[in-house]
Structures are given as C-alpha cells and as structure tokens.
Amino acid sequence: MKKNEYLAELKSELKRNNAADMDDIMSEYEQHFAFKMADGYSEEEIAAKLGTPAQIAAQFDSAKDAAKKMTGTNIFLKLGLGFTAIFEAMFYILFLAWDIVLAVSTLTFGVLGFCLVSTLNISGLIPYMPFLGSLILGISIVGLALIFGVASVYCFAFLKQMIRASVRWHKNMVSASALPPLPWSPQFEPKTRRRLRTVLLGAIALFGVCFVLAYIVMALQAGALGFWHAWNWFV
C-alpha cells in the first residue's frame, strides 16, 4: 500500500469509529511516514509495518470513549445524577432520623428498665408497683431496649452501606475507569451477624416471657386483672 492510500484508508476508518481529534492522529501517522522515508524505507514497507488501518483505528476507540465521556452527554448525565443525589440525600436524612428514633428508644427503654429493676423512682414518675412485679417488668423492658438496640445498629449499618454504594455508583457513572459496584444491604462479618441475631432472638424471648410473667405476677399481687385500677395508676 502506498502512503496516500494508507492515510486515506486510515482517515475513513477513524471517521467510521468517530475518533476524537482525527487531524491530530493523522498528523502523527503522516510524520511517521516522513521519518521512516527519511530513514530509507519504502512506502510499502512502512505501511506493512504499521499494521492495517482498520486495526490501528480500532485501537483509538477507547480514546474516543474517554473524550466523549468528558464532554457532550456529560452535562446531562451530571445534571441527572445531581437530581438523583438530591432525592437520595432526602431519603438518607429521613432514614437517619428514623435511626435516631430507634437509638433514642433504646436509651429510653434502657433507662426505664434500669429504674424498674433498681426501684429507682426519679421524681415519682413511675406509679406504685410492688417490688417483684417491678423487677420482672423491668427485665422485660430491658429486653425491649435490646430489640431496639439491635434494630438501630442494623439500620445504621444499612444507611452507611447505602450511602457508600450510591457514592460508588455516582463515581462509576462519571469516571471512565469503573470500580465494581457495592451491594446495597449491610455486609456484616458472619461472626457479627450471628451475634446480632442471637441478641435479637434472646431479647424477643426475654421481652415476651417477662412481660407476660410481670402481668400475671402483678395481677396476683393486686388480686385483680386490671391491677392498674386497683393501684390507682391513672387517677
């Protein structure tokens, strides 16, 4: 193949692949021919050593993709991603609020349980209750605190993982080199997951059993099913 033939074919191949900066690429190959010819090679030899125009043009594909990503569609892509991010942020804030509710509930039930078990009655907030009933009810409330505790830990891990996954997703949408996507659900170590499950099941059992038991004990102590009336709790 002659020089002009080769270059013309290369140009049409590049055009077909929609390569960026075609003139720049072409001038590089024109110079290559010029230098090689100055070194005494024939046009045919040079063309043969270069590789076929189709092969060469195909190797510029990635350059085209990268260039395309940096301009044009990118504005719309970024705008779209920005909008998505706003809604995502709103959702995450809501989710965080929910998690705070769970955490505060954990704390509240923990304190209440402790007060009942230790018969610590801060400024008379807890109504009259004989010790045994208060002890068992206190234990059941501690169980409830544990349930909420596990839930809040899980929700927090979920939120964290969702944010990480979405940040990764956003990054992958705009950058050429993509990292593997992250899973959306929290990834606990097997050991941690087993522990959380054990604590949760134990807490549910503790809460259920002790709550029923507390009711029975207090009903017996008051001699009435509605012991709260007998002890004038709501008067």
Binding site: Y29, A34, K49, G51, Q59, F60, A63
Partner: protein, 108 residues
C-alpha cells in the same frame, strides 16, 4: 505473544522511556518496535491514551530541516504513576518468573 496482553506493559515501557528525557512520537515508536515485536502503528494509540489519562503532555518543537516534532513529556501524575506501577510490575514479574521456573523444574 498476544498483543492485548502486551498493551498494558507497553504503557509502562513508554512511561519509563519518558522518565529521563522528553521524546517525540516516532522516536518512541522506533525504540519500542526494535525491542518488542509490535506493529509500528500501535504506539500512537498508546501515547494518545496516556495523554487523555493525564500521564503525559505534548508540545511542539521546531527542528532544523523538517516539520515541527511533537514531543511527549511526563506530567507529575505520570511520574508518580510510573513509580508506583514500575515497582508493582517488577514485583509481579519476579513472582511470575519464580512461579514459572518452579513449576518447570518440577516437571523435569
């Protein structure tokens, strides 16, 4: 050896060539194709990719007699990338070499 496999290594070779001096495209192409069996034309797409990745920059320089040459030089990013990739590659090559030797000896 298959060309796809060589391409990643060629990028590193180009960076290493530019570490101590700036060179123009044809010079790089000649240097590489004399040592490694590749088509001459493959070097330019690699240079372009390195440029779009921000590892090298180009400038034109007038030479006596002839068209201006497009010189390539390493950017700061290119320099740090080269240092990291070079160390990583040498380590990798050492492992591969010892693994290949080890298994070759076992068979014989």
């Amino acid at each position: 050896m298959n060309t796809q496999y060589k391409k990643g290594v060629l990028e590193l070779c180009v960076l290493s060539m530019l570490k101590h001096e700036n060179r123009y495209g044809y010079e790089i192409s000649e240097y590489l194709s004399k040592r490694i069996d590749i088509a001459d034309g493959t070097v330019y797409p690699i240079l372009r990719k390195l440029k779009s990745d921000g590892l090298v920059t180009t400038y034109l320089s007038e030479e006596s007699g002839g068209p201006p040459r497009k010189y390539y030089s390493l950017t700061e990013l290119g320099r740090s990338t080269y240092d990291a990739d070079c160390a990583e590659y040498l380590e990798f090559a050492k492992t591969v070499e010892s693994m290949l030797k080890e298994n070759k000896d076992e068979k014989e």
